[in-house]
């Protein structure tokens, strides 16, 4: 095992899949000689050449649509959108078209496209370099949605996504790219799509999260343990769609208390669905109202440090919500 960053894990997953299967190729803005704006494809054009590492014109609708068309002919494209905030022109081809290909052809056609999207805030990106876009895809049957938190999960899940026969939205939190490091095996491995993971076991409160926020939840859990207030179980969803309801419910039934944390806007976010799930299928086990620490309903975290801080959930805010739940 070697210690890698999230961006290195993403890069390795793609490189190994491109080596393994000549149908895999990458396309997007600046993915060639620049190696991508976050360097996810650094060294790729040198290794695989410009036919499999395509620097596209600046036009996201075509990036997604062309990837989709290529997938119909048996390729496994990995289109990259530079920032989630610039995804919107591609939404017709992604939500409108790709999500409905299998169902709309009654299974005769499929769309093995993995669209990679750097997302999320806390990096002084302002309104147009910080957006959380997961809820839109979470709402859409036909798509799979993955949002890993660690290098190990990022690599194993990205490989699974590329090998999957469905359109997969692969969300990479920009702030984790270089900040989060962890063990990644040298040998080939894949992780199952649709499986959450208990990142920290605990008896008293369940906290469910994904992406960057998992790390803040883990820190908050340590704080509460140190204070002797509660043993918090941290469930990292890893895959948002299909949702691993089993792992979530099992944990909630054990602890009887549930906190959901995400950076995306609270209304209509992933947390709403998880709360509904718990209310529906674990009602008798709940000892406290379900809590949520989420981004407020303002359009993305602003640029000013003060406003960004006010928007972002963080360790302290999560710890306070956990203390309140513990005291209930």
């Amino acid at each position: 095992m070697a210690v890698k960053s999230v961006i290195e894990a993403v890069r390795e997953a793609m490189r190994e899949e491109m080596q393994r299967d000549e149908h895999v190729f990458v396309m997007g803005e600046d993915v060639g000689w620049r190696g991508g704006v976050f360097l996810a494809t650094q060294g790729f054009i040198e290794e695989f050449g410009p036919e499999r590492v395509i620097d596209t014109p600046l036009a996201e609708a075509s990036i997604m649509g062309i990837a989709l068309g290529a997938s119909f002919r048996g390729m496994r494209p990995i289109p990259e959108v530079e920032f989630a905030d610039f995804l919107w022109p591609a939404v017709n081809q992604l939500i409108g078209e790709a999500a409905r290909v299998c169902y709309g052809s009654d299974g005769s056609l499929n769309a093995p496209v993995t669209i990679r999207i750097p997302y999320g805030g806390g990096i002084r990106g302002g309104l147009f370099h910080s957006q959380n876009v997961e809820a839109y895809f979470f709402h859409t049957p036909g798509l799979k949605v993955i949002a890993p938190a660690t290098p190990y999960d990022a690599k194993g899940l990205l490989k699974s996504a590329i090998r999957d026969n469905n359109p997969v939205v692969f969300l990479e939190h920009k702030k984790t790219y270089r900040l989060v490091r962890g063990d990644v095996p040298e040998e080939d491995y894949v992780l199952p799509i649709g499986k959450a993971e208990v990142k920290r076991p605990g008896q008293n409160i369940t906290v469910v999260s994904y992406g960057l926020m998992v790390h803040y939840c883990l820190e908050a859990a340590e704080l509460l343990a140190a204070e002797g207030v509660a043993q918090v179980e941290v469930v990292d969803l890893r895959t948002l769609k299909p949702l691993d309801t089993e792992t979530v419910l099992e944990s909630v039934k054990k602890t009887g208390k549930l906190l959901i944390v995400h950076e995306d806007n609270i209304t209509g976010g992933i947390g709403s669905e998880i709360a509904a799930l718990a209310a529906d299928q674990a009602f008798d086990y709940l000892d406290a109202p379900i809590g949520r620490v989420c981004g407020p309903d303002v359009p993305t975290m602003p640029f000013a440090q003060t406003l960004e801080d006010a928007y972002m959930p963080n360790t302290q805010k999560i710890a306070q919500a956990l203390r309140n739940l513990a005291a209930y």
Partner: protein, 346 residues
């Protein structure tokens, strides 16, 4: 439309050097000195902003160096006309500051402080709206401004006012579907829009030949039923003249596209490293085509300003930028309670 003329063909090779000519119609020596002053101040603040990024005080900046002459030439034409509205993009510091912002306002914006005139520090610098100076730039999503500009022009036509709308965009933005859709609609409805393509031959790292199979974006205009012209974007007066003609044409007959051939003198943004994708010789050669240096030589050679006067203007600019930097540095970011303000209009 017959008086619209191409100024060059090909990219901006050395055309900035061709400066010996008469003053264009409507321009006085005072105008030239005024715009020289603005240009020097803008370049000074642009360089300062880059430095402040390196000091950790400005999170991000897209330098406008190389684009000054094109933008200021269009501003000069628009000011002479007196009834224009602007939809710029993120590289248009010259247009936005030239239109009337103080150095302190610009610095507040780049440092994310209270008093940023565009978004009060919600967005990246100088994005949002500065209605006092007739500017809207809702975002830095490439090419989102083109359909909006066309819609603004449609409304002006519906309301019977006589405005001409300038919309600015890069060569990269010309690939976006919405750019095509905007131009097509403007052509159908003969709307008073001047489409200004600031072609610096790169979209971050992607060179023009990977973006399009043609040499001149201007050629596309014909397909939308309106003229497209190539302009020396490194020459303020060339830009002025093209824009003056374009304004007249837009008001009388409908849209025009001006493709300003120019250069990006700096990396894409403070986050970029252009040596990854641009050969050193090319970067060095591009530096030689500095429109500010070209305009300085022109002013000197034509006798509008002496060397001493230019130095005095530069010194004044430095003082103004120093003061602005200190003022913005001392200013506070907006209060956290601002977070929930103005999600909806009242």
């Amino acid at each position: 439309m017959t008086q619209l003329t191409n100024q060059t063909d090909g990219h901006a090779d050395g055309i900035a050097a061709d400066i010996s000519r008469q003053l264009p119609q409507g321009i006085t020596p005072e105008d030239l000195v005024d715009f020289y002053r603005r240009m020097v101040t803008i370049r000074t603040i642009d360089e300062r902003i880059w430095m402040m990024n390196r000091q950790g005080k400005v999170p991000i900046a897209a330098s406008g160096q190389g684009h000054e002459a094109a933008q200021l030439g269009s501003l000069l034409a628009a000011e002479k006309d007196g009834n224009c509205f602007f939809f710029p993009y993120y590289r248009d510091l010259s247009l936005k500051m030239g239109a009337g912002l103080t150095p302190t306002q610009v610095m507040l914006s780049f440092m994310g402080k209270e008093g940023d005139p565009y978004s009060n520090a919600r967005q990246f610098p100088l994005q949002g709206a500065d209605l006092e100076h007739n500017v809207i730039q809702t975002s830095n999503v490439v090419a989102a401004q083109l359909t909006q500009a066309v819609g603004y022009a449609l409304a002006c036509k519906m309301l019977g006012d006589d405005k001409v709308i300038f919309v600015y965009f890069g060569d990269g933005a010309s690939s976006q579907g919405e750019t095509h859709e905007a131009m097509n609609f403007a052509g159908v409805h003969k709307l008073p829009v001047v489409f200004v393509c600031e072609n610096n031959a790169y979209a971050i790292s992607v060179p023009q030949r990977m973006q399009m199979a043609i040499g001149d974006v201007a050629n596309r205009a014909e397909g939308y039923g309106f003229p497209g012209l190539i302009v020396d974007g490194l020459d303020l007066l060339a830009s002025y003249e093209a824009c003056r003609e374009a304004i007249n044409h837009a008001r009388r007959e409908g849209p025009v596209m001006l493709e300003m051939k120019l250069e990006r003198l700096m990396p894409h943004t403070t986050d970029d490293d252009d040596s990854r994708y641009r050969p050193k010789e090319e970067i060095d050669a591009v530096r030689e085509k500095d429109p500010v240096a070209a305009f300085s030589s022109f002013m000197l050679e034509q006798g509008y300003l002496t060397e001493e006067q230019q130095e005095e203007i530069r010194a004044q600019a430095r003082r103004a930028v120093n003061e602005a930097t200190d003022a913005a540095d001392a200013a506070l970011p907006p209060d956290a309670s601002d977070l929930h303000k103005n999600v909806y209009a009242p």
